[in-house]
């Protein structure tokens, strides 16, 4: 499957002399997304793809599960309501139409008003990938854990818990992973200050 895609890509790059490798590379996962240079069509295409997935999710899990569909370049991004986070990811994995069975990236970002957790899901059988994300308030940052569904995000969730302070409910082993247990605060939060959150020594806070 990958090979014949490969073949026609090689052919096309021969015609274009200085084969801009970036662009051909991007077109790889979804053949449909193979688009010329201006970025708009890619985003539009991705949004359409995202909308289709949104319809599928909402059919199963009810309206309002997908709060927003945007796109970054050729990647559709679906924002999912935090309450349905685990259900939606499980659906995307198990649904025969979707089959996003492989988590590539698990990242958390502090946006000052809320904290966002981002997943990049890859469908091994089809070679397409999407991004899903969800938001949680900064104070009382709580999300359902994905670790029971995808054991591979176990440590990633611990890392987000450690560095961003998001509590994952249902996580089997939620401890700090990078910092030690006596650490004060969550370093990747934007309001974290190295000076206010001096590391504790010997288990006792300083000052």
């Amino acid at each position: 499957m990958a090979e014949d895609k490969q073949a026609d890509k090689v052919a096309s790059s021969e015609t274009v002399e200085k084969a801009a490798p970036e662009k051909t590379a991007k077109a790889a996962p979804a053949k449909a997304a193979k688009a010329p240079a201006p970025p708009d069509p890619r985003v539009e295409q991705a949004k359409q793809q995202g909308e289709a997935i949104k319809v599928a999710i909402e059919q199963k899990l009810g309206a309002g599960t997908v709060e927003e569909v945007i796109a970054s370049k050729e990647v559709p991004i679906l924002r999912i309501a935090s309450a349905k986070w685990r259900e939606a990811i499980t659906f995307l994995r198990d649904d025969p139409e979707q089959r996003f069975d492989y988590i590539e990236l698990f990242a958390g970002t502090d946006y000052k008003d809320y904290i966002e957790v981002v997943l990049y899901l890859h469908a091994m059988s089809r070679g397409t990938y999407i991004s899903v994300k969800t938001r949680t308030p900064r104070e009382q940052a709580v999300l359902p854990s994905l670790a029971p569904v995808f054991p591979g995000v176990n440590w990633e969730e611990r890392e987000v818990f450690d560095l961003l302070g998001v509590t994952f409910e249902g996580h089997p082993d939620l401890r700090r992973i990078m910092m030690w247990d006596g650490w004060n605060g969550h370093p990747l939060r934007k309001d974290y200050s190295e000076f206010e959150n001096m590391p504790q020594r010997g288990g006792e806070p300083r000052g």
Partner: protein
Amino acid sequence: MSTSLRTEEMILNVGPQHPSTHGVFRLVVTLDGEQIIDADPVVGYLHRGTEKLAEGLQYTQIIPYTDRLDYLAAMLNNYALVHTVEYALDLEIPARAEYLRVIVMELNRIASHLLFLGTYLLDLGAMSPFLYVFQERERIVQLFNEICGARLTYNYMRVGGVKWDAPPGWIEKVRDFIPFMREKVKMYDKLISGNEIFLHRVRGIGVITKEDALQYSLSGINLRSTGIAFDLRKNRPYSLYNQFEFDVVTGKNGDCFDRYYLHLEEIRQSLRIVEQAVAQIPEGPVLGKVPKLIRVPAGEYYRSIEGARGELGVYIVSDGKDKPYRLKLRRPSFVNLQILRKLLIGQSMANLIAILGAVDIVLGEVDA
């Protein structure tokens, strides 16, 4: 052995200073006799907060920090970062720069895999391969030294190209290196792959199933050893990889032997790529037209490449400034290491090192 005999459990602390944990990695093993009933990997001893540091640095300034992640394959780390920035900027890269990048990346992959062979065999008690692989690695390191002036932390790539063009004669040296390395790979295959003691220690040990591999988000050789042909160079081609002929080699059983053998095979495939790249490399500039101050347009971008240890990705959230708002590194070693607990439980203590070694981690990357 006998189930009626009650034995006391013993907790054994492997690491953080242990010769076979390849760095500061700690494994708290609960033993019942020789059997492992629980294993708790403890990481973070080498945590330097690269992601936090990156938020205060311009994109070019972050490049040397990526060198320190997987310090055995720093070229690939460099590329993962600059590639994501270039992707966000939709930059065109001069052809020669891309070729040079591919050459150094594949050479670095070879160097990294060679070191795996050496250290893995050292873990299993064979001392000589460790010293043998350093000879070939030394040649690669010398090549890197000539092209970028560093042996380990290269800081070679830039957004838009590479920092230095290859010095005169460098390409020829790489060309000469290929047949030399081919011979050596053949030699290793002969010396190691048939060794009865070695086979007894790695065959059928630490088996990963396809389902587990996907569930645990394994990537790289750990994933391919289970038979899933997922190589980002083929499945989501970046750089020039769609122009080169090479195979994605997969294993059958997902055991330690497959993981060992795939390293050897990947060296062969990398040599094929280097050979083609060296034959095709055009003349021209090595650094494209890039603004002095790189400002990534607001948005979020994720690109991943096939690193030496798996999917090496960089996720950038930008607010349009010259520094990333958030930079997340998808470190393959970190993700791959999670399966260790599952692999170890139920195994005998004697297999611990064989399994840990085959997962192939670099602690600089695990802890970032």
